[in-house]
Each structure stands twice: as C-alpha cells, then as structure tokens.
Symmetry: C2
C-alpha cells in the first residue's frame, strides 16, 4: 500500500484545510498520515513546516500533499519552495473568487473560524439548547426546537442532535421511545403538539442488540428479541403518526443530519 503524508498548513485553526482532507477517502489504496500545523503565521513556523515536509518525504518515500491556507503572500511563497504537492486554498479558491466578486479578500490569519464568524453565536446557543433537551430530559422549551428526534434508546439520537446543533446551528431536541410508550401505543403526550417537527430514527435489531450489549451485557434490555420488538413497535408508532424516519444502521451522523435538514427545511405542506 502506498504511504503518503498530508500536511494541513494554516495561519488559523487549519479546520477548513483539513475538511478537504475528507476528499482523501476517494483514494482508499493510499494510507495517509495526516498532520495538522495550525497557527503557522511566522517565517520561523514556515521553516518548521518545511522540515516536516522533508521528513515526511524521507519516511514515506514520496513527496507529501500539502493543503495550505495562508493569507500572507510571503509566507505562502516561502512554503512553496519545499518539494511537495501543494493545494493552495488562496490561489485555488479565494483569489479567483475575489475576481468573480470583484472584491479583495481579507488576508488576516484565522478568519474562517473566529468567533466573529457569521453564525457562531447561533451555533453555541443551539449546542446549549440541544444538551439541555437531550433524551427527553425536559418538556419545557420544546416550542423553540427546530427538530425533535425520536426513536428507541441507543439508536443514534444524541450524536445526531449534537451534530445538527454544532455544525448547522439547529436547535435539536431528542426524545426516547420507551416501553411505557409502547404499552400505551401512543407517542409521549407532549410530542403531539410538535408533531410537524418530529423526525424518527430507526436501526436494525442486530446492530441495536450489539450497541446495547456493550452497555448492559446479557440484559433483557439488550436482548435481540427485545430489540426486535421495540423497533417494530416504534416503527408502527411512527407510521401511525405519519412521521418521516431514517435508518441509522449504516448511515453516519453527517448523512443523517443532511437527510434531516432536507426534511425540516422544506416548507410545511
């Protein structure tokens, strides 16, 4: 297997640059070592980056990929004296975009992820809301929720809610469906007046059994039979109430969130 190092060199957090690192998943037959060099904003630090490039080349037997986001032109040019395959976010994106918009881009360090960012405070508020409305812990404030995820215990509601809040500033509450609900055959009463905001998650019984068994091995709760029954009843409940749902078994929280966003951003019918 081919080995290559990818260095993310940024004068800020390096988060935008390393988001592009996800594109490396398109090359599964190369084993990438990812190295982040944030706050690289002086000539000295550029020299350290150059040494890292050289070291990686020696270790891998091939030049590294450098994904770089440096506002300062001198630092940019200096770094490029090293031997690497450079992807320069300024050259490739920001400068051409400036021509398109007929505007000079800001070139200060760390602009993309400062607290001044356009929706930073919205995102922080959403995180607070979501943590305070995890696992049905309160019924108050549900009016404020933009989405309420429901589903059986351990089907992925919490990480998906937090991702929606952190990434998109969505106030996402979540509510478990529990044995009492299944016996009664109705959703928790408080949810009916928010029915338009509800999105369901479901999961395959085998997977739920394995997830629950990690926490409570050999319990009734984790048994395959109980998982099957809970899931079937939860799906019945959702069907009966016309709730859209998605299966979390083979979907990442990013994929689930993208599906949920599509649903909640559609105008109500």
């Amino acid at each position: 297997m081919l080995r290559r190092t990818v260095l993310f060199v940024s004068d800020g957090t390096g988060i935008t640059a390393s988001a592009l690192g996800k594109l490396l998943e398109h090359f599964p037959s190369t084993q990438f070592t990812q190295v982040r060099l944030p706050f690289t904003d002086t000539l000295d630090k550029i020299e350290l980056a150059q040494s890292a490039i050289k070291r990686a080349t020696d270790e891998d037997g091939g030049r590294p990929v450098v994904i770089m986001s440096l506002g300062n032109v001198d630092l940019r040019n200096k770094l490029k004296q090293a031997n690497a395959y450079f992807i320069d976010l300024f050259n490739t994106f920001i400068d051409p975009l400036g021509l398109e918009l007929d505007q000079k881009p800001l070139t200060g360090a760390g602009i993309a992820h400062s607290v001044m960012g356009s929706n930073y405070h919205e995102r922080m508020e959403a995180i607070n809301f979501t943590l305070g409305h995890d696992d049905g812990m309160t019924n108050s404030g549900l009016d404020e929720a933009q989405v309420i995820l429901i589903g059986v215990s351990r089907c992925g509601k919490t990480p998906t809610s937090i991702y929606l809040a952190m990434q998109f500033g969505i106030k996402a509450a979540n509510y478990p469906l529990i044995p009492e609900d299944f016996e009664r055959g109705t959703l928790p009463e408080v949810l009916y007046k928010h029915i338009d905001k509800i999105f369901g998650l479901t999961i395959k019984a085998e997977r739920l059994h394995s997830v629950r068994s990690e926490r409570r091995p050999d319990s009734f709760y984790a048994s395959l039979d109980n998982c099957r029954k809970e899931i079937a009843t939860a799906e019945d409940l959702m069907r009966k109430n016309n709730i859209t749902w998605a299966d979390s078994t083979s979907r990442s929280i990013e994929e689930l969130s993208a599906i949920i966003l599509q649903k909640i951003r559609q105008p109500a019918k």
Copy 2:
C-alpha cells in the same frame, strides 16, 4: 452590500463542499445566502439545481457561486451548463490529486462522510466518552481520557470538549473548578494523577458575568464580583500546578480545540 447565493451541490452530504463555505468569511462585504443541495445524484435533481441557480441569479442580480462535488462526470457536465461561477472539487482537487498519486479516485456518491470513513467509529466512541465525562460527572474512566479540561463554571468547557470529540475523535473529559476547590486551595484530588492531561480554560470576568446572568440573573453566582474572584483563584490554582491554559473570551471552540490539540499532541517532556 453585494448579495450573492452560494449553492453547495453534492451527490453525498455536501459537508465537505460546505466546509469550503467558511472561506466566504474572507469576503465580509458580500452578503451570502447559502443553499445546500445534498444527495444530488440523478439528472432530475441536477435540473432542480439548475433551476435554483437561475432563481438565485434573478433574485440577487448576479450569478451564484456553486461549490460542487459530483463523482459522476455526466452529472458534473450537465450542471455546468448553467450560468454560475463553479468551484468543482473533482476537477480542482480530486482528479489532479489522482494524477499525483497515480491512482484513479473512487467516484461513488457520498464517499467522504460514510460510516466507512477512516475514523468514524473512533469519533462516535469519543462522543460517548465525552458526554459521559462532562462536568466532572464521574471520576471513573479518566485514565482513558486524552485531555481533561478544567475551568470555572460556564467558561466553555462543554462545547469545546464535544467539538474535540466530534471533529477529532479525542476523548475529552471536563471538570469544573468550584467554590469548594477554591476554599481548599487545591484541584479536585482525583485530577492530580492526571495532571499531564489537564488543559485549563479561563475567561474574562465581564463575559462570564454576562453568560451566567442569562441563566441565573441577579444571583451571587453570576455577580461580577464573584466572577472576578472565581477566575482569579482558578488562574492561581492553574499557575501553581503548571497547567497550560487558554482564554475562551474571544476564541471560538474551533480555535480553542486547535490550541488544545497542539498541546496534547506534543510528546511529554
């Protein structure tokens, strides 16, 4: 103020494409409307995207920016028949990177954010760990933590911990410093054996006062005077124990996380 729409068109979640949207912060004098079109993986959906492009052009009085990630070449070419400024992740990054690596990239839909991604399960485990070790809720399992954030109540420990877990797969516990600790003049006892993993957060008193006042207005807890005293004592405690800390007042959780990662990834001295 110039108005432009940015469309993120992807055959997957669109998350990699929209991460590049952060680069728009470099153009503060344009007001961008961001529209995500995930799962655009058929000709019909490409046509919907083309209509959205046209509509945005009419509304803004200028052609939109389209950041696109489409594995299928036919869909890619079809979309580009619309009049927009295109940033094509395949043309710009993935295909040239394939030449550099001498490998054909995978072109299936949604490769970047599937559960098959290289560290997905590590990230999910980290989120579970972090949620289970928020706010000093348990002392068990701290051996497993990769970092333990400490600081006064409401200084930003929780969102930073969750970001570290979600984005980087770091198991981040956090522990509040509370009046009992200040009276005793020592850190919580349990933390001393993990002192190498501790990172401190601090905050300006005025900001803390304002954050706490939202929750408990006019309380002693939120009073400026108490905030000042708690912060001074917490900083004293951290200084006495040689704990590195960062001020969260004007830093985003992304910036704090980048700082913390730099610290914890340095080899111990």
